[in-house]
Symmetry: C2
Subunit: 159 residues, 2 copies
DNA sequence: CAAAGATATATTGCGCGCAATTGATTTGCG
DNA sequence: CGCAAATCAATTGCGCGCAATATATCTTTG
């Protein structure tokens, strides 16, 4: 008998909640935001704002578009979010002088100062997930791979 | 040297987007809903409505609370969602005669008829994720485990 | 049986995600 | 150059998630 690629079964029973990889992903993602919420709240950040700040701590003075590409979010999500971050004083929004279509986002001192307490939060989360380094990385890589596959398969006619 | 549990590192570089398991989970979950959207749209369902229907196809005539427990959602999310499902004619909402606090959700014929086309959608998704049965199940189980760990760790003083 | 507490759903308010559209700016092409 | 197409951000509209609160109903307890 030849070794064969076993594709997940598609019989009738498979349409159960417990069989759904999508639901496991969905539920785990929401569990993460629930877990983060009380930790980020004292810092005045939501989970989505937190991942935007991660981008800025890595690369300051980026455009809205660049943030969107890294986070897979669009301007409809980012514009109001960034305005809230600006209102709370952690970032500054400014039209690019060279290309006035773009808006560049830069950290304020208050924004830079948030990095240390957020690092502490992140330590809590790492402990909270209760995984070894290897399992942590393996799971992360599988999910990144899955996202990429889904997004590529999702574009119609990907020639 | 003793074998030791390797906890994920917490040095300064770890606070990068690419190191974040939470972001990988978050992004994969949104990729799933993006992938599902054009497939479910012709059936008049959103992704969230889809997972509610999964519950109902497994167990008809359940209370809002039971749906919430299975999906980790509360009444603030479910009540308006179920009203929309009722408005589109796929479910019926009715106060329980024995306990008037409860609202029981049951499928209409139109709701039962949706099961077949949704099974077809699910086949598309299974192919879209491009995983073998084993990888699919393993990833699903790890995510379920992760969700459980996060939710348990999240409750303060879990005595 | 009445009051107190527990339970189930509904409502309100806020912050996302995202599709679709708009407006401003820049680029590309004849 | 001049105008059409492309690009970027903002806006609008809708459907979640979820905390906090409100309301109605049931249960428990004295």
């Amino acid at each position: 008998m030849l070794p064969q690629e076993t594709v997940p079964t598609c019989d009738d029973d498979s349409l159960q909640l417990s069989s759904q990889l999508c639901f496991a992903t969905y539920a785990a993602a929401h569990a993460f935001t629930r877990f983060y919420k009380p930790l980020l709240e004292p810092l005045g950040l939501t989970y989505s704002q937190y991942i935007v700040m991660l981008v800025l701590w890595e690369t300051d003075n980026v455009t809205v578009k660049e943030i969107g590409q890294r986070l897979f979010l669009d301007s409809g999500t980012l514009t109001p979010l960034l305005k809230r971050l600006e209102a709370s004083g952690v970032v500054q929004r400014k039209r690019d002088a060279q290309d006035e279509r773009q808006v560049r986002i830069s950290l304020t001192q208050k924004g830079r100062d948030l990095r240390a307490p957020v690092t502490a939060v992140w330590r809590d989360v790492v402990c909270g997930v209760g995984l070894t380094q290897d399992d942590f990385d393996a799971l992360k890589n599988q999910l990144n791979q899955l996202r990429q596959t889904l997004d590529r398969a999702g574009r119609r006619d990907p020639r």
